[in-house]
Symmetry: C2
Subunit: 409 residues, 2 copies
Amino acid sequence: MRLSQLFTRTLKENPKDETSLNAQILMRAGFIDKIGAGIYTFLPLGLRVHNNICRVIREEIDAIGGQEILMPALTPKEYWQITGRWENFDALFRLKGGDNRDYALGATHEEIVTPTVQRHVFSYKDLSTAVYQIQTKFRNELRSKAGLLRGREFSMKDLYSFHTDQKTLDAYYEIAQKAYFKIYERLGLLDITFLTYASGGAFSKYSHEFQTVCDAGEDTIHICDKCKVAVNQEIIEEQSACPLCGNVELRAEKAIEVGNIFKLGTRFSEPFGFNYLDESGTEKPVIMGCYGMGPSRIMGTIVEISHDDGGLIWPEEVAPFKVHLVSLRQNEATDLLYDRLQKAKIEVIYDDRDLGAGEKLVSADLMGCPYRVVVSAKTLAEGSVEIKKRTSQEVELVKLGELINYWTK
Amino acid sequence: MRLSQLFTRTLKENPKDETSLNAQILMRAGFIDKIGAGIYTFLPLGLRVHNNICRVIREEIDAIGGQEILMPALTPKEYWQITGRWENFDALFRLKGGDNRDYALGATHEEIVTPTVQRHVFSYKDLSTAVYQIQTKFRNELRSKAGLLRGREFSMKDLYSFHTDQKTLDAYYEIAQKAYFKIYERLGLLDITFLTYASGGAFSKYSHEFQTVCDAGEDTIHICDKCKVAVNQEIIEEQSACPLCGNVELRAEKAIEVGNIFKLGTRFSEPFGFNYLDESGTEKPVIMGCYGMGPSRIMGTIVEISHDDGGLIWPEEVAPFKVHLVSLRQNEATDLLYDRLQKAKIEVIYDDRDLGAGEKLVSADLMGCPYRVVVSAKTLAEGSVEIKKRTSQEVELVKLGELINYWTK
């Protein structure tokens, strides 16, 4: 993509009507636009990042047998009444339709996925199975001042698994945990993300959150440095020790919840009467698990933990482009390199604008692509371009003929 | 994908609580699930079709310079008040937030895209530009009985273009028209889709709809067979002649509106004060166009026009899989073919279930993939498999070693 064509622009200063750091930088860099408190538009660069995060999640959830579907956001009241959550779910946006029926905007989808899978799954032979979507969700937050960390509208990957018994649920729950850590690894969050023990329900002592240590986090977690796990605030008030080793010297940190997994047991299958026939022909309730992860919140988290005064610093898997190609008034030569990079399938944004070096280099830092390639009269005189990683201060001169090899060799 | 793994199943009969033909067949084939009137879940096979339609649209809109963004569904009342549509837009879902503010669920996005682009575009040098999204929209329909043709929640590609003057808008409007016809061609709808003259606004005599002739359509169009264009019902009541050639012998047909394009002029830029600086430094209002197309409605339209008693008949570009591979109790040999097809990047669904030939062939017809490949003891005895196109009654025997070449040669 040529920057001269991109309709968005970077801002010189942080926007005044935004207090959250992640949204400030993303707005300054032209990645998102604010529509209201907790409501944002993803601009072209921001949408590319969001789509990359979704792609990583999709690949890892597909790899553990998740079957992708897409459920509606508009969900009739009747479904929520069956589980008793119409009245009790605080953050539910409720609205009335022209058909005089009541609807909720989906804040979670147990009420929809359970009867949907119920219409297709009847026998133990059909189980286990796992179904997910990546979809827009809505929560009627009283306050929403944390940018992409807590939106009134946000994206969510929600996976639901269905089993004949506790044992197969437990096994899948372990598999999902591993997939979650693979995702955090690919997104550059692994080292600071902790499996965190949280309250369970009727069906298991604990559920688990995945918490990324970050000062902007709204949660406090208590880390056991021996076991590399944590407990959340709610649990620490009941038992002030690591649930694995009993260690009481836990380290408190602010953290962002970037995922949660929960053994639902029969909490939803029972009210919907979702039973299966076992091998002897006996009806038994289906055992369920659910696994949430928010791509837009993860995008905000990456910004919070990976930026500097110059702007964004994207990990390679999520960067809007791998290479930020800057022409310092050498568009003729740089056009050729741009073509060559595109032919080599290297994702590149090309700053072909009629601007000075200072403004262009500031833009490149702000946008945060992993590799900056500068083409100037000086580098061309040496038959070279200048490559700088966003994470480094060092500059390398690379011969024009070696440029593609730099990434593909 | 193996059918034994897919959690959905086909139904023997049409669902009782659904009256629309497209939704009946899609539900029977396990492509969608009904949540409420005009509200559906896309199941794995249906989501693949929907994604394919979106991919085709995205490719063609990217090709005419559309820059993809993603706007929110939750839109604050203030934006709609600026244009006077808060009170006047009939089908708007309105709701109140916990912050005591009023919101609308986006039924269209002129009110959001205009101020967003305004924050980034200031000069004639930034224009023309075009911005689009593929996103979930909501309309508070009183009745919703047409399946995917008229959902309360549905998908929409909405493109908006921004120009310095009428001339550049007119030129882009022509380019968009051509892109729309390319899309209909790829989706198998070209021959029965007519550019249809509809009422314009303050800024042009006509707008245009794209209408696909179909008995299930809610609209009536009047076709000029000389010019291969049509006029809609509203226009025919004012002027009962072809706007191009004056022909009064127009042929009335039921049709489905599968797209519409509209010259907005300054209808939205003026209330938002969206001006640009021209070459002389004078402020002038930006001239806009908008271009809508609904992927979910197009999916319903394809079903309405392309099915038979046996079930769905997908055009190749949108089919959930290219090949429906059926093993008639020959899974060992068929597993090898399945691997070979996957390695050749041919999208294949493999019926490896423990069922009889009758049930499997009925499933294949119902799901409607373009090519059915049957592997039986009889075909294997001849070192062959049997290939049948979904659109044909004829069966071909193809040697095992020639199978991949059948599509790739």
